[in-house]
Structure formats: structure tokens, C-alpha cells
Symmetry: C3
Subunit: 326 residues, 3 copies
């Protein structure tokens, strides 16, 4: 695997899930990362992703450099061709080439501005990283996808060991406008499994068709939940009225009563979770979210392991890459 | 030792001091920490604690993840049962369980708000960490105690090698309202030693009786200092008029003249120290504060070593803990 | 080498450049840094310096503690003799002694305030670090010098393999007032090589004579560029009208047309570089700046290696240093 930015980078999804489950049982297995450095660049905050990926790297013997872009480093200009006479002293063209020359793997977390759909869905920053990096790129969430979370989710579903589960992705209310990255990515992965997938949300919250095309859409949440084996709750802002909050309807909050409609379903969420907005305390306390979040380590470790393997096999090519710009 | 949050967690105080002194002579002794991760979560800033604990962890072969809560991660809701529709997207219930699942030991620094005595003295955040963590908790200072500092202080006093020393804890002026954590904790530890302990401060600065009950209280600073072998200076805000500054009387600043009243006493302070407020330049320059602060490494190393030993012996229990919330 | 704060600390410049080139070919060569800690203290932001020095330390097997002064730690008072009743709770006298007692090497990045020339050129903060540290000090840029950058620059020029190159340091426009550290330091190093050095800038931008005395100064940029083998562009604020911007003349921007005046020169810059201010996109894209910035790792590794060697030979002296202030 030469990079990990979406499911399309993964040759064998099943094997990757198996690898993650293997590392959960055998955390300290490989020393592939010794004297290798993982660079992590954050354009927005992160707790689980930051800590779990760092732990995964340490399990493989890697060293880690974590950088908060803008705070630790310089504000970065991402547009080409501009006269840089404003607030941003560093251009992404140099920043990425250089950061990647200081690391063996480069992980980046970008975000959706939620102002301009075309801009977000073009993944401008992540694309720059992919184009300019001399080393493999790992997405720690991008404007429209969160593949590390989705791999974790698939691993967690696998652990539940249900044949052809009915998986319901339900929208839930939230006070702020959130990106579509987690639901987009979840659908991308879960529809490749044997699950029956239903998406439920108020009208106007339809996700980009490229992600939802293999799912049933059901606007009646109660109907959607009937017989569910897994309930995956998440808020997102509107894709059509881009970035807007169209509903704060608290009747969409997942309650014990709603869970009673299911087939004794497991409740999942990527966290952070606003209690009594997304789901009630009772639902959260009886959920699998802690095991799910804990699995982030093993998903990251499986991905880092694959990228290190790729890098090992391609070391000579990378060495040559060092002399770009001459 | 299954956690380190106060002296009450320590079975054998003497042995722990001896261990700290041992590590000072033998910094690179044990490899107990190899492929183990120390997570450090800071709810307020820190220089000595941050660096010295990190150095101690490295001496034991550990890796470290340091997180500034709120800056690197998300703002954290600490109250139970609330509808999370405000500024704080993450609940402490999930945050602690998850952070602890990413680490082998979890260290946390909390602080006193100094608005509400009951809230501070209930140690709400630290208690959550203790209740919810799957791995041993290490306090890097809490709202009311600072046991790592106190262990360091006892080690430093031990190095002075004085039989039944007269130890005087003196209040000193400061422009800001400070917590009582350091003096509380110091009294908790020093009264367990063979020292004669005198506390001196302006009226109204009496500490919580649970900490001062075994000390003599003397409101005349000069009288208190007579014959002292050790002078430990510190500012704190009022406990009775909770969090208030009742005095900024600079006659309490420790001067060369005041030190002349003592039995050639050693001057101690936990740092950071405001020069010419707490004590004059002369007193600071002729003090043991640098050796004292340097000892933080060895105190932390002794504690981490004990916690790693505990964790090693209880690994199976921890593994089961991974599946909380299912 | 007992410290690295300017070229004057280097016994053998040639050997240091050779060592850096050696590490570029043999990154994982020495294990001198095992169980040693590099402390890095930043008084202002940094990307290249932070990441490249950290990578260099990891290549040598070191652990790293990186601290943003003021954000991670406390605001630091740097003046002696003051009554510390203001915003700064920590004095640099204690801070440096203590940070150095927690590390095996201490790296510090300070900055020019650009308000007071005497203050900046006295290097007050760096000098405190040198005076008070118990371990070797490494400058990560100071108010008036940037020796790690200059070593990198010399290494990059060496790779170009030109006998007696004509090196032109040209001022270029920039929207903010910048320090003179990079040009000062570059002249300090490049004038020790076999290069013919010309400095070109608008009148009023003359650098401190101690750095420019061995160079030709040419106020006509086009004339200066004629026959150049290397063009090193950099903005700086005025030394005589200290810290002021005297010109924003965009005719000084390095363009393809200007580069055509040279002897097919290589374009260098320390980065971050404001595109289309300092130089046009075309010039940057056809430059050696990425290789140059990449070389920061090897320069840092050579320096750390020398400092570790020094520290190894002087361990007993350092041990004694631990008991300053008694």
C-alpha cells in the first residue's frame, strides 16, 4: 500500500482488517519501524487520532514528530500563483516537500471549511500532500473522508461477529455544523462488506450520491431502526445546502426507547460524542464506543505496518526523490 | 503501588525516597518501560513537571505522549448528566477511558479553579481519572495536592542529612491567587518524617486543618524562623476566604536578614519563584532550589518504576478492562 | 565542540561539513545518543528547525523534549534584579539551570525583538543559556545568528561543487520586518570559504560591518548578479535604522530575467519563502531550496554528534554541575 487516504488505496480490505485484529492480540510484534520517523501534521485538533496513531507508531518502534500547523510552525499558503504579501509566510509546495524529507511516513489531518463544497470535495490540501510528498501519506481525516476511522469501524463490526448484519447509519442533532467525512467514509467501507446498510436522516441531509448509492435511504428513523443489528449515529451538516444546519430536531437523539426497536443492536459512534444530543447517557453507557475508539490503535498500526513495508521495498526511489527541485 | 495521587497511595514512603535517591546515582538502570507509553494530559501549563517526568520516563525506556487538553485535543465536559449543547464536544467519561486505553500509564495535571472550595476539594477531575482509567494514574498536581513535588521535597531534605530538623513552611507574598496544593501536600509528607514542623503565615491564611493538624502554627514569621534548619517558602491564597488574597505584605518576603535568624537554614521552594516577592535574589542564589527542582526527575522515575511494576503484575486484569462498555 | 552558537564554536569547519555530508549518506550510523535527551526550547515558531533537528536526534538514537516557552511552560522573566510582580512567574536564571538539568543537550531558539539594537545584539537570552546551562547549548537561531542554517548552506554549496564560486547575497522585499540573523550568519560562514562574496541591497540595508567586512557591497542588483554561480536571496530589516522597513521595492524580487544575468546560478533561500515577493514561482521551482532545507537534518546531526562526543568526554564535570546553588 503506497498511501492510505481512502478505501481505494487498499488492495485487500479483508486482509487489512485481519491485520488490525492480529495487532490487537499481538501489539508488540514487529520492529519494522525502528529508526523510522512518523511525522504528524494537524490542521485542526485531535485527541483519539493523535494519541492512537502515536501509540501505534511506538508499538512498531517508530519515533514520532507531531506538529500543530500554524501554532508550532508557520501559517501555510495553499493557493498557487499568489503574491505572498499577507499573513502566511510559508507555501504548501515547500512545506510538504520539506516535511516529507524529514520523515519516513507523513500523516496529515485536514478539515472541511464547510463554506465551499467544491473546494472541500476537491481535497486541495490532501491532494498537495499526495502530489508533493517524497514518502507515503496517511490521512488522519481529510475534508471529506476519514479512512482510519472507517477501518476501525469495520474491525469493530467484525468483532461483533454478526452474519449479514443490518447496519443503520443515523443522523443525530448537534449544535455545530460538522463535516460529512465520517459518514461518507463509513458508507464507502461498510457497503463493501456483507452488511445491509440503511441511512436515515431528516430530508435535506442526503449525502453525496457517490457514497450513498448502495444504501437504502429511509427518512423515518423509527422505521429504519427496526431490526437493526448495529446503530451508527453521527451528525453531519447538509451536503446540498452545503455546510448548513437544517435541523436541530431532538427527536432524532438516539434513546433507549429507540434502541428497543432494534434487534438488540450495538450502538457505535466515532467520538467525541455530545451526550444527550447524539444519544442519551443510557445509550452511550451501554454502547461499544470505548472498544471502538480503542480499536483506533490497531487500525493505525495495521496501516503504518503496510506503509512501512511499502517504503522498505521502495527505498531507492525515495532516495532519488530527495533531489526534487534539482 | 497501583496509583500515585497522594501519600495515601504509598505503602512505604521511606523505600520510595530511597528509590529516588538510587535513581539519582543510577539513572539508566531499568528497562522496565521499553515499549510502554506514558500519556501526560495537561489541563494547565507546566515546565518542571512536564520535562522532568518525560525525562524520567525516557530513563526507564518509555515512550511519551504529551497532550495539552483543550489545545491539542477537544474542550472536555466534566459534569455528568448534562445536555452537551455548548462549547465542549467531549465528555470526560469517554476521554479518560479512551486516553487510558492508548497508554500504559496515564499522568494528569489538573488545577484549582479557586472559585468554589467544595468543588476544588472534591478533586472532581482527578477522581474521574481514577475511576475511569484502565491503567495506573499518576498525579502531576491536582486541585489540592502535588505529591510528586512533595516526594521530591522529602528527598531533598533527606540529602541535607539533618537529624530531627526544624522545618518552617512560610507563606510569602505573590501578586496572583495561588492554589493550596503545594503547602497541603508538603505538610502531608513532612509531618510523616522526624521533622519538627512549624507553619507561619498572616492570619486568615490557615490551611485546611486535615493538613496542618500535626504542625505548630506561628503567626510571627521572625519567631517561627528562629533556629530553623529548613525554610520552605510558598504563596497560597486563603482557604477560609476561599481563593482570596488577604495580604500582599512584602515584610513576609524572605530576606537575608530573616535567614540570619535561622540555624543556617537551607531555603527551599517548588518553583517557579517570583524573585524579590517570595524571596530576595540573595536568598534564592544561596538556596537549594536548583538541586530540589533537579530531583523532580528522580522522584518521578521512582514513581513510574513502581507503577510499571504494578502494571506488569496486573496485566491480565488490564487486558479485560479494555472491553468496558461491553 | 562544547557548544554550537556561532562559527566561533567550531574548531574545524571543513570537518563539520564533511561530517554532515557523511550523515546524508549514512543516516543511521552512530548510537551515541541512546538514552540521551535533547531538550528543545522555542521562544518563537519553527517548522524546519523543529522537525529537522528532532529527526537528526532520532537518527542518533536520542529522545526529544520540545517545549514552546510561554505556551507549554510559563512566561519567563529575563531581566536580573527585578521585583517579579507582573505577568512572568518564572525567572530565566532558574529556568535554564533546571531545563538543562533535565536534558543531556539543550537547544534554544530565541528571536530579535527588532526594537532595540543593543539588546538584540547582546544576545541576552542566548547568553543566559550559555552561562547557566549545565549541558552543551545548541542555537536553533538566535537574535543575530543562525549557525545551523549556515552550516546547511555551506554543505549545500559544497554539493554544487564549484571552484571559487561567485556567491551573491541579495536582499529581497518582504511585507514584515525580519531579523538579520540569517544574512549575518551566512556571511560569517561563506567568507571563510573560497567563495567570492558580493552583497547587494538598497541603500540603508547595510549589515553590521563585523559580518560584511570581507564582502564586496554592490547597490546595483543587476550588476551584482552578473556571473554569479550562487544567488542567495533573503529579506532583512535595516540595521542602521534598526528594525525598520526602508524599502518594499518589488524590482528587487528575483525573477527569471534576473537569473539570466548569472552564470546559470543556483538559487538558495533558507525558507519559509514568500513566493512572488522574494522570488517568482519560476525561480523557486527551478531552485535548490528543497535540497537545501533537506540538508538541515544532516547539519543538525553532525552538530549533535559533536556535542554528544563532547558531553561524553566531560560527563564528570557535568555531574558536579548538578549541585549549583549548593
Amino acid at each position: 500500500m503506497k498511501q492510505f487516504t481512502s478505501i481505494h488505496d487498499v488492495e485487500n480490505v479483508e486482509a487489512l482488517i485481519e491485520k488490525a485484529l492480529f495487532f490487537k492480540q499481538n501489539p508488540i510484534h514487529s520492529y519494522l519501524g525502528e529508526r523510522k520517523v512518523l511525522g504528524m501534521v494537524f490542521f485542526n485538533p485531535s485527541l483519539r487520532t493523535r494519541m492512537s496513531t502515536q501509540k501505534a507508531a511506538y508499538n512498531l518502534g517508530m519515533d514520532v514528530i507531531a506538529l500543530n500547523a500554524g501554532a508550532d510552525g508557520w501559517a501555510i499558503e495553499t493557493k498557487d500563483g499568489v503574491i505572498m504579501d499577507g499573513d502566511k509566510p510559508e507555501h504548501i509546495n515547500e512545506a510538504v516537500q520539506i516535511m516529507s524529507s524529514y520523515c519516513d511516513l507523513l500523516a496529515v489531518r485536514t478539515f472541511a471549511g464547510l463554506q465551499n463544497r467544491l473546494a472541500d470535495y476537491s481535497e486541495a490540501i490532501l491532494t498537495k500532500f499526495i502530489q508533493l510528498s517524497k514518502v507515503p501519506i496517511l490521512s488522519l481525516e481529510s475534508a471529506t473522508l476519514h479512512p482510519l476511522q472507517s477501518l476501525t469501524d469495520m474491525m469493530t463490526i467484525r468483532e461483533l461477529d454478526i452474519k449479514k448484519p443490518k447496519v443503520v447509519l443515523t443522523w443525530a442533532p448537534h449544535p455545530k455544523a460538522l463535516p460529512q467525512a465520517v459518514p461518507n467514509s463509513f458508507l464507502q467501507w461498510v457497503t463493501k462488506s456483507d452488511a445491509e446498510v440503511v441511512v436515515t436522516h431528516p430530508e435535506g441531509y442526503e449525502l453525496d450520491i457517490q457514497f450513498s448509492q448502495d444504501c437504502k435511504i429511509e427518512y423515518d428513523q423509527n422505521k429504519a431502526l427496526e431490526g437493526a443489528d448495529i446503530v451508527y449515529a453521527k451528525n453531519w451538516s447538509s451536503y446540498s445546502a452545503y455546510g448548513h444546519i437544517l435541523s436541530t430536531d431532538r427527536s432524532w437523539t438516539v434513546t433507549k426507547e429507540k434502541m428497543a426497536l432494534t434487534n438488540n443492536a450495538s450502538f457505535m459512534h466515532c467520538l467525541p460524542l455530545r451526550r444527550n444530543m447524539i444519544a442519551t447517557d443510557e445509550v452511550v453507557n451501554d454502547s461499544v464506543v470505548i472498544n471502538q475508539a480503542g480499536n483506533r490503535v490497531w487500525a493505525a498500526q495495521a496501516v503504518l505496518n503496510e506503509l512501512l513495508n511499502y517504503e522498505k521495498e521502495n527505498q531507492n526511489i525515495n532516495e532519488q526523490g530527495r533531489f526534487a527541485y534539482r
